[in-house]
């Protein structure tokens, strides 16, 4: 675990202790389970986003995709009667295809990631809304899918399965990002794509793969979100989720310039954000301030991190100066 991740972890613990001191109900198992469920949902999104950010890209269409895939999934299994073990992989594949298209536009046609995915943000939301004619997609009363519900919204010994899914995904993705050749290429491309190309790396394929991973994880998390809310109004569902995902990754040390960041950081970033949301509700802070608290803490965190590194560098230099005298 890097110094940066450790700092974040400490911040999370400190905030947790303070909140628990003010309102001990924070530590109730039910609250921890609720929060870790949301951590699971948003964490999967953040990991997907992290893979794109590491290449120096960005994926802004995440929120709209959560709406579109959610609508499609619920429509398929609730209205069209498709069996969920068919619908689920279908949606995941669709996520991969969307990622493929984004990656292709970015890597092959050399369009800017911000532009491609901004258009995605607009288009997918429009499509989702058009698909339901601005109505809501949801389950009819009494429509139940016990095994699917257990897998997505259920708990295992009190631990939400979505959280377990996050842990598994994070572990796998940690190996991919930090131990595999693919991961190493991602870092290289993020730092200097041109030079990576000169090293004989198929940069296009790697970049496309990053977007595919993001698409797949987004689709997966869209299904989790759908099964959590069980109802999706496509006009608002998932709005700003891309910002949550990006904020989590950035809090976790990812640089939007690419080539920097650790997977543990992205997960911890999500934990902090969800802890903050929980805190606002638990401490009775006006919900209008929810956003402000989140923004304030991110800014503070990033500033402290920045100042802390600067301070450490200075101290190191001063140390060296003292020793050599």
């Amino acid at each position: 675990m890097s110094k940066k991740d450790l700092g974040l972890l400490i911040l999370i613990l400190v905030v947790g202790v303070v909140v628990a001191a003010i309102n001990p109900r924070f530590l109730l198992p039910i609250n921890l389970a609720n929060t870790s469920n949301l951590i699971g949902l948003f964490g999967i999104l953040s990991i997907g986003q992290a893979f794109v950010i590491i290449t120096g890209g960005i994926e802004l269409s995440v929120g709209s995709l959560v709406a579109l895939f959610g609508v499609l999934f619920i429509d398929l299994i609730a209205t069209r009667g498709m069996a969920w073990p068919v619908a689920l992989p279908l949606i995941i594949v669709l996520g991969g295809v969307v990622g493929l298209v984004h990656g292709w536009l970015i890597a092959k046609l050399k369009l800017q990631p911000f532009v491609v995915t901004l258009c995605g943000l607009l288009i997918y939301r429009g499509v989702a809304r058009f698909y339901t004619k601005d109505g809501t997609a949801g389950f009819a009363f009494g429509q139940n899918f016990p095994s699917l519900e257990f897998l997505t919204a259920g708990r295992f010994h009190g631990v939400p399965n979505s959280f377990i899914a996050l842990i598994v995904i994070a572990a796998v993705m940690w190996i991919v990002l930090h131990r595999s050749v693919f991961g190493r290429y991602l870092y290289a491309i993020g730092k200097n794509e041109e030079a990576a190309k000169y090293s004989g790396i198929h940069t296009d394929r790697i970049v496309i793969a990053a977007y595919v991973i993001c698409g797949v994880l987004t689709a997966l998390s869209a299904i989790y979100f759908a099964m959590y809310t069980r109802s999706i109004s496509p006009a608002s569902h998932g709005q700003f989720y891309e910002l949550y995902a990006i904020a989590a990754a950035v809090l976790g040390g990812f640089s939007l310039r690419g080539g920097e960041g650790s997977l543990v950081g992205a997960v911890l970033g999500t934990v902090l954000l969800q802890e903050l949301q929980n805190l606002v509700n638990l401490l009775g802070i006006p919900s209008s301030l929810n956003f402000a608290v989140m923004g304030g803490v991110i800014l503070l965190g990033v500033m402290i991190d920045q100042q802390w590194s600067a301070f450490r560098a200075q101290r190191l230099v001063a140390e060296a100066a003292r020793q050599s005298q």
């Binding site: 595999s180 050749v181 290289a188 030079a195 090293s199 790396i201 230099v317 001063a318 100066a321």
Partner: protein
């Protein structure tokens, strides 16, 4: 120009690489015109030519980075229309680029083996980190690196980074190694090591194409020299014909005047820039005292990482000094940012021109006017005419080879880019000129011009500080030499004490011997 012995090698001889009729044009420029060459196994080819002659373009074609408009490439008997980076590597060609291409978020070993990592974990394709490290060490040893395989590249100096690049090329087990100005920021000792590495490659039957503007290196390493001018082969020299003057003649089409004897040491003027107890972030514990006089060229020599660049950055206000004071003409300077220095007439030509020297995406004229825009402006509005006039004058003055001053600087050859960096400061009124490796990548003709320019500046009363790792240059151009060792000045040499040995002794922290003055000492 072809001689009976056919030094250009075009007649049948077993060869590893054959190029025939290679042609490459850019808008307004013919970079390569029907270029042909052969490279035999185990042969070291020295490729020389003025800046912009097309050397790098040719190598980029071999490396698969650019495609030729025309021509045939045959590698090891296999013909290619064009090479891609992948096919070039697979064909056994390794390439050290003129511009560095390292990843400073990865460590040295990861950089050296990027794209060729030893794997474990079967289909998981995990990096075998221990094997990677182990595989890297021998190559680092071979290039004489003083850093370890897991050092982050971000912590290395430019010269050290160049060593990583060379280690990378060596590690590819290639059959042809292309070195495009690998020594441009390497000091003497490391350069020597590189030359012996080249000899070792040759002994293993590996071919080398070696590009350098330091002709004495070519002299020592090459079996055959090819000279280029304006994208065409203008001549070739066999091993026994290789000599400084012969190469120069081929390159620039005429003999260069013999290096002018040093002007008699002049009385230096008053102290212009004086640093007292200055310590830099790289060597926070060391204090540097330095006096730079008007009208002198003070050469600053030292080994890799001795802290010269750091000192220059502090004197230019890019880095905050940790202690001490700097005064110009006796007046103390704050130097909290580069604009402080520029406003006071202290200019820096940085060593890394791609990152800090110029804006590659701007036209030449805008690069030249950038530091002095207010002078080219009326009521805050830029006058493109005044700007173009100044740029034209500088283009002529420095013989910058470019279609026009509106050309994007990034499309110029390395040497011409360097001239643009110089031009922007020469267009202003320097009081103190700091040049960090000013002739890095500059051809021999242009070098002479730059030396003349520096001398001209000095004669006009400018104080010139020249950081250089090129021993010949330091000794040949300076009025006085200061040598740095691990962050502090280990000594000064006056004209009478100039010698390679003395510079080297000071550079490794030993006192210089007065007696040996003038003696030609073989470099260690």
């Amino acid at each position: 120009m072809l001689k009976a012995s056919d030094p250009s090698g075009l007649t049948a001889r077993p060869h590893f690489l054959a190029l025939d009729g290679i042609r490459k044009t850019y808008p307004g420029v013919i970079a390569l015109a029907d270029f042909s060459m052969r490279v035999a196994p185990g042969e070291v080819i020295g490729l020389v030519g003025e800046n912009g002659a097309g050397k790098s373009t040719l190598m980029k074609i071999l490396g698969g980075i650019t495609a030729p408009d025309q021509g045939a490439i045959t590698v090891d008997g296999v013909p290619h229309d064009r090479l891609t980076v992948g096919s070039s590597m697979r064909a056994g060609i390794a390439f050290v680029h003129q511009e560095l291409n390292l990843f400073d978020n990865l460590d040295v070993a990861a950089n050296v083996f990027l794209g060729r990592e030893p794997l474990r974990g079967g289909p998981l394709r995990l990096v075998d980190r221990a094997a990677l490290r182990a595989a890297c060490e021998p190559y680092l040893k071979q290039v004489g690196a003083n850093f370890s395989a897991d050092a982050p590249v971000a912590s290395l100096s430019l010269a050290q980074q160049q060593m990583v690049e060379i280690a990378k090329a060596l590690s590819m087990q290639a059959r042809l190694v292309i070195l495009d100005e690998p020594t441009s920021s390497l000091p003497v000792a490391e350069t020597d090591r590189l030359l012996s590495v080249i000899a070792a490659l040759k002994a293993q039957g590996i071919s080398v194409i070696f590009i350098s503007h330091r002709l004495h290196e070519i002299e020592r390493a090459a079996d055959r020299v090819l000279a280029m001018r304006d994208g065409a082969l203008v001549g070739a020299l066999d091993r026994d014909e290789i000599g400084h003057d012969a190469m120069v003649k081929l390159m620039i089409g005429r003999a260069l005047k013999a290096r002018e004897a040093l002007a008699p040491a002049r009385e230096p003027g008053a102290v212009a820039l004086s640093a007292r107890g200055v310590s830099t972030p790289a060597y926070p514990g060391c204090r540097v005292d330095l006096d730079l006089c008007k009208g002198e060229i003070l050469g600053l020599a030292g080994l890799v990482g001795s802290g010269r660049t750091e000192l220059a950055r502090v004197l230019f206000g890019i880095d905050r000094r940790l202690g001490g004071s700097v005064a110009l003409d006796g007046k103390p300077l704050a130097l909290s940012a580069a604009n402080d220095a520029v406003a006071n007439g202290i200019f820096l030509v940085p060593e890394d021109r791609k990152a800090t020297g110029i804006l590659l995406d701007l036209p030449i004229a805008q690069n030249i006017s950038l530091p002095d825009l207010p002078r080219h402006a009326r009521r805050y509005l830029v006058s493109p005419r005044s700007e173009a006039e100044t740029a034209e004058a500088q283009k002529k003055n420095l013989a910058i080879k470019a279609p026009s001053v509106a050309t994007l600087t990034g499309t110029l050859s390395g040497g011409n880019q360097q001239k643009v960096v110089l031009a922007k400061w020469l267009a202003m009124k320097p009081k103190v000129m700091i040049l960090d490796e000013p002739t890095r990548g500059i051809d021999i003709g242009a070098k002479a011009e730059i030396y003349a320019l520096m001398r001209g500046l000095a004669d006009a009363g400018v104080a010139v500080l020249m950081i250089s790792s090129d021993m010949e240059e330091v000794i040949g151009v300076s009025d006085r030499i200061a040598v740095m060792h691990e962050g502090s000045i280990s000594g000064y040499l006056d004209r009478d004490d100039f010698s390679q040995e003395n510079v080297l002794l000071l550079a490794i922290g030993k006192p210089a011997g007065k007696e040996s003055a003038g003696a030609a000492v073989p470099v260690a």
